[in-house]
Subunit: 227 residues, 2 copies
DNA sequence: CGCGATAAAATTGTGTACAATATGTATTTT
DNA sequence: AAAATACATATTGTACACAATTTTATCGCG
């Protein structure tokens, strides 16, 4: 397997929670698993570290970036601002090629929703928001967007693994919102794009709360205090 | 030289424009210069790439991130928002240890100003804003702050290389603003911290414009078109 | 002289061996 | 039995050799 593939593979494995947050990454086992030597693997790990997927402690190897409660608080604080700014820029910078890409991704997303495949939903959703970030074309904002999306996608696994009818309805709503957002980008309507984006955020935020505080809440007082 | 040192060395060389933006980085010459083999050097380059200091094109090596006019436009658009948000969080999360660090760095900055050492000013200024970012303690905002600071520090070389009295006065003002900002952080006054930060931004912005559009403007029409 | 193909040189990418460091275990000491 | 030490093992870090690729130089041809 080539290095670029390896990078993408590990990236997606992390995003899809195939590799648990916080878990240690053993170099030799990864090498055997992906059929590369340690030299390119380590280079990939260093890049992943630079982009926030992984944490490298000198002489102690790499581990997947963790998602603890304190960072979650920051997440909910920061996400709406970044998403809104990105949306604004994306609407200002919209071009037909990127809009077309967005439509393609959104088609995949809708198919995944109709087929009820949580993994594919999460993947398409990530790609969609990543592409919006590309369209915004802001080298200064996209680092934060990328960092947000890492944790957003990991958390959204819960969101898309819909169990009851209400949750499935929410996913349908999110799907419609995507279409509306793309329409707003295409129409180059920044303020509408921002509004729709914030609505979209609010919808997924309500569900992601459950990731941090799983439903039903544990009644164990010790656990509550720890949180 | 160890790998962590090498990382910092290259980082500062890029930030201080010792290595020109856009210039190619030859692996073997860097190895000889810093007395390491290519393996650790390449790992460092990959990490620098992940953090936005460097750009790696497969099979074509690494080059220092460039600063063209289009990215500059994004810079001025994005910077105030990120700086303000970071300032707010820094004021909310202020703790004595970090405040003390800030005071130390600011002391260095003032010394550099009084001694008239542009390089040291730029370094201290970078460290100061980086530490404010640490204090804000937001894993989602700091990637963008870091990316902004890369270009801000590189541009500020112009700012600190003061030639006339007016420019030196501006630097003095910036120095005072640093103190006021740290006071606001220490007092845990978010809104004041944000206001002061935006003032500080406005001051340096006015000077950095000159970097993008050097004074006096070239009247050559070909150059204008190319830009 | 310009253009394209081909060969040589230089540069980047990968595999492997070995060194340095950290971790785990057994033994000794109190 | 607990703590400390020394040793063995496992893991990470680095150097180097070679493979793959790109860049440069050379040559032939119209």
């Amino acid at each position: 397997m080539k290095k670029t593939e390896l990078f993408d593979t590990l990236r997606w494995q992390i995003l899809q929670l195939d590799i648990e947050p916080g878990s240690a990454l053993d170099e030799v086992s990864l090498c055997e698993a992906h059929n590369v030597s340690r030299t390119p693997l380590r280079e990939v790990l260093h890049r992943l570290a630079g982009e926030g997927f992984v944490r490298i402690e000198p002489n102690r190897g790499a581990s997947v970036s963790s998602m603890d409660i304190t960072t979650m608080r920051n997440f909910f604080q920061t996400a709406p601002m970044i998403y809104a700014s990105i949306a604004r820029l994306a609407a200002e910078n919209a071009n037909p090629a990127k809009i077309s890409t967005l439509r393609d991704i959104q088609r995949d997303f809708r198919l995944a929703v109709e087929a009820g495949h949580p993994r594919d939903m999460a993947i398409s959703n990530h790609k969609l928001h990543e592409t919006i970030g590309d369209m915004a074309d802001s080298p200064y904002l996209s680092p934060s967007l990328q960092r947000l999306l890492i944790d957003h996608t990991r958390m959204s696994q819960t969101f898309y693994a819909a169990r009851n009818k209400d949750e499935r309805t929410r996913i349908m709503t999110a799907c419609e919102q995507h279409d509306d957002m793309i329409d707003a980008f295409e129409a180059r309507d920044p303020s509408r794009a921002v509004t729709l984006t914030l609505d979209h955020w609010a919808l997924s935020r309500d569900r992601m709360d459950l990731y941090v505080r799983p439903d039903p809440l544990p009644v164990n007082p010790e656990v509550r205090d720890a949180v």
